[in-house]
């Protein structure tokens, strides 16, 4: 069925946003926790270097998800946007502050301005994934009605929402720390690599605990989803757990090769596990499923066409961006100018 394909496209978008955008958010979290001016400057430098040329492109996955969601499942989209309006507003404002703070920090020179914009970027990197998580929690726990007239605090402040909100923050931190561990070791900075390895292990452990807690909470909040996760979706849940354990084992033994693919696979398995476990239900607790709430056939075909075109055009472009970035051919010209100037001054 084409509608399953479209559901898969939506999950693919979520996966890519979680893996790529999530790591960028996590970078902001580690920036927040990097400490003072002297202590924090090496990790902040690496975070800044790794995020700078790619965050806008990674961010577009969010737009992509929103558009596919409203195009293919308009009623469910309107329901979520109405019932969970407040956390979505907060996430949107957080996105504005985060992007602007990050872009502005690069351009200012006075330390107090750098601190102000840096703190704006870092703090909003914390709140955006949290509020997005509460919205996913609201959907997963079946608190979004099919035709809500008003937003309601109870929709997104249930235990499932708060747990998934916290889980999103932890997973972003985990992904970012594994990426940064690998990046630091590729650059030969072993001290920084160990620094992020410790943090990756901690964030990974917290993510694991929060995942288990969420699973237990879903047992009472949405038994049907729990059943899906422990039956149809079980292989994916196991894959995710295995990836998490493998990453922690690699970190403990000081390896950095394979960290990125394993951590991404672990996160992807959870996203797809949710999708498989809930299939074909769109909004649990309502009659809205992939089949009852989808747009007309011609629109679904258009969505698939757009996705194929995106895969053909955007895929290779992303590979080009990531490979140039990976070979350190992209760098902030501002930084370079400063380096030249200080070099010339000495």
């Amino acid at each position: 069925m084409i509608v399953d394909v479209v559901g898969g496209i939506l999950l693919a978008g979520l996966t890519l946003y979680a893996a790529l955008g999530g790591a960028d958010f996590g970078g902001g979290l580690w920036d927040l926790l990097a400490g003072g001016y002297q202590r924090g400057r090496a990790p902040r430098q690496l975070i800044d270097d790794t995020i700078t040329p790619v965050w806008e492109a990674n961010h577009v996955w969010l737009i992509f998800i929103l558009v596919i969601f409203w195009t293919a499942f308009p009623q469910a989209f309107a329901a979520v946007m109405t019932a969970a309006a407040l956390p979505l507003w907060l996430a949107a404002f957080g996105i504005v502050l985060r992007g602007a703070g990050f872009a502005f920090r690069k351009e200012v020179e006075a330390l107090h301005w750098q601190r102000l914009f840096g703190a704006t970027f870092a703090f909003s990197s914390l709140i955006v994934p949290f509020f997005m998580g509460t919205v996913i929690g609201a959907i997963a726990s079946g608190r979004v009605p099919a035709n809500p007239a008003h937003t309601d605090l109870a929709v997104w402040t249930g235990p499932t929402s708060l747990l998934i909100g916290a889980l999103f923050v932890a997973v972003c931190a985990y992904l970012a720390a594994t990426f940064l561990t690998r990046e630091a070791s590729r650059r030969g900075d072993h001290r920084l690599s160990r620094y992020f390895a410790q943090r990756a292990a901690t964030a990974g452990a917290i993510s694991g605990v929060l995942s288990l807690a969420t699973l237990l909470e879903i047992h009472s909040a949405n038994p049907a989803l729990y059943h899906g996760l422990t039956h149809r979706g079980l292989p994916l849940v196991i894959v995710s757990a295995a990836c998490g354990l493998a990453v922690i084992a690699l970190l403990a033994t000081g390896h950095s090769q394979g960290l990125r693919p394993l951590s991404v696979l672990g996160v992807a398995a959870i996203v797809w596990g949710w999708g498989v476990a809930q299939h074909p239900v769109l909004l649990p607790g309502t009659g809205l499923t992939l089949f009852t709430a989808s747009a007309p056939h011609a629109i679904l075909v258009t969505v698939v066409v757009v996705f194929v075109a995106a895969a053909l055009l955007v895929g290779p472009s992303f590979l080009l961006l990531f490979s140039l970035h990976g070979h350190q051919l992209l760098e902030s010209q501002n930084l370079q100018e400063k380096a030249d100037e200080t070099g010339a001054g000495r």
Binding site: D31, Y37, G40, R41, A42, R44, Q45, D48, V54, E56, A57, H59, V60, L62, I63, F64, L66, W70, T71, A72, P74, F77, M81, L88, W89, A92, F93, I95, V96, G99, A100, F102, A103, F104, K106, E107, V108, E109, Q114, A149, A295, P296, A298, I299, T302, V303, V306, A310, V314, S317, L324, L329, L330, E331, S332, Q333, L335, K338, A339, T342
Partner: protein
């Protein structure tokens, strides 16, 4: 705040604050969108000149402009995201019924936005390590996808003005023809109108900055080129834009006659309709306007006998509100376009006479004015098309109140948006001024600290083994 809430309740729930919020966020984002659409091409013109003629001044301009572009694209990316959220948060009624249709153009826009963001990342940060012409070519996709994205977004907006290409049954879309949605009738004139506007806004805005420098006495080649490249682009496109705008107005007269009647103060349907320049509209009468008999009929059909449809053709509830705002915005847009045309002609005449830029102080004052004038004209155009479309969100199919959210508290998000965007706007301007000051001072300006929060990476480990 209380008064606004009462006002909102009187006007039927959340539609007034929701419209105010959409106007605020769109009015802000559109400026950045213009830079996203048109600035890359202008930067590339400078870079091309720099590479082709080994022109260091052009190259320096291109590098500096691309740094400005980086700041504006980042702010534009996030304010654009707010608009995507607002489609659902402010207008769930619209999305519930027409989300599937609107998704067609926005889906293609997504692809363009992806490519734009990816190649912007490569172009902006590729200055150091990519070879000259390779770097230039990585910028070409940004200019092309900027235009592509504009085509897609304008397809969505023009579809709301000229909806078609779908079948509605019991309030649900049952069939869609994506081609008809994308290439609707209004997109033929709305799209070029907006793309030209973007190039004019950016061209004249950038030129303004250097006009101010020249007026201060910096008549060096850097300032002359910094003015000349963007001003030429804006000035060449101005007459094209006036032609496209005139065509659009005539198309609106036949396809959205009530909007046209609001624009031109046409109270009653008839022949020999007069044109008003300026003037206020109160209770069916125009005050203080300059009335030109038969001129409106002449403009619409090239004959004073042309029949023009008036506001009386529809019930009062189906007429747009704030007629004075619509009419004066239209007049301001047209008037400012002719001011820009005048500036371009002035420069052209001087250039033909002696292959140089004008020397008169007046010209440079006009040059400074051109940027804000182009920006104001563009914003006025949006006021005309969006307020003029009311009370419809999807023309003659869905009213804006039917589309608006039923959630309370839009006043709160509106307040938050106004505060947030005011801070964002001021911060962006301050940052750009800081950059300009730093460039003026030259390389002597030693940074207090590297980015972020510390000395540059090179000084990371104070081992005492300083390079000789």
């Amino acid at each position: 705040m209380h008064a606004m809430q009462v006002l909102a309740a009187a006007a039927g729930g959340q539609v007034v604050p929701a419209r105010a919020q959409m106007a605020t966020t769109l009015g802000f984002h559109i400026i950045l969108a213009c830079f996203g659409i048109a600035f890359p091409a202008i930067v590339l013109v400078a870079e091309y000149r720099g590479l082709r003629r080994s022109d260091d001044v052009a190259m320096l301009l291109a590098r500096r402009w691309s740094q400005v572009l980086g700041v504006l694209v980042a702010v534009g990316a996030v304010t654009g995201t707010v608009l995507s959220f607002e489609m659902g948060l402010l207008w769930p009624g619209l999305m519930r019924t027409y989300g599937a249709v609107l998704g067609v153009p926005f889906g293609f826009e997504g692809i363009f936005f992806f490519l734009e963001a990816i190649f912007t990342g490569i172009y902006l940060y590729g200055w150091q390590r990519l070879p000259g012409w390779t770097h230039f070519w990585t910028g070409i996709p940004i200019a092309l996808t900027g235009i592509g994205g504009a085509v897609a977004v304008m397809a969505a907006n023009s579809w709301m003005n000229q909806p078609g290409g779908f079948t509605l049954s019991h309030g649900r879309i049952v069939a869609v023809d994506p081609w008809q949605v994308f290439f609707n009738r209004a997109s033929l004139y709305e799209t070029p109108h907006m793309i030209l506007a973007a190039y004019m806004v950016v061209g004249f805005m950038v030129a303004s900055v250097y006009a101010a420098g020249i007026l201060k006495g910096h008549r060096d080649r850097y300032h002359r080129l910094g003015f000349g490249i963007p001003f030429t682009i804006g000035a060449i496109l101005t007459p094209v834009q006036i032609f496209v705008g005139d065509t659009a107005a005539r198309a609106i007269a036949s396809e959205q006659p009530v909007k046209f009647a609001a624009i031109e103060y046409v109270t009653r349907t008839g022949r020999g309709v007069a044109e008003y320049l300026g003037g206020f509209y109160v209770n069916g009468k125009v005050y203080f306007g300059l009335r030109i008999p038969d001129a409106d009929s002449l403009l619409v059909g090239f004959s004073p006998h042309t029949r023009v449809i008036g506001l009386n053709s529809v019930a009062p509830a189906d007429r747009p509100p704030a007629l004075t705002l619509i009419h004066l915005s239209f007049d301001a847009m047209v008037g400012l376009a002719f001011l820009l045309l005048l500036a371009g002609l002035w420069a052209l005449l001087v250039w033909r006479r002696r292959r140089g830029l004008p020397r008169q102080t007046w010209f440079w004052w006009l040059g400074i004015l051109c940027g804000p004038a182009a920006l104001a004209a563009m914003e006025c155009g949006w006021i005309v098309t969006e307020v003029g479309r009311q009370p419809w969100v999807v023309y003659q199919l869905m009213t804006t109140s039917q589309a608006a959210t039923t959630n309370g508290g839009v006043i709160d998000s509106l307040t938050a948006v106004i505060v947030l965007y005011a801070v964002l706007g001021v911060a962006t301007l301050v940052i750009l001024r800081m950059l300009a000051r730093r460039w003026r001072q030259g390389p002597q300006a030693e940074p207090e600290a590297g980015v972020p929060y510390g000395p540059p990476a090179e000084r990371r480990e104070p081992t005492g083994r300083e390079p000789a």
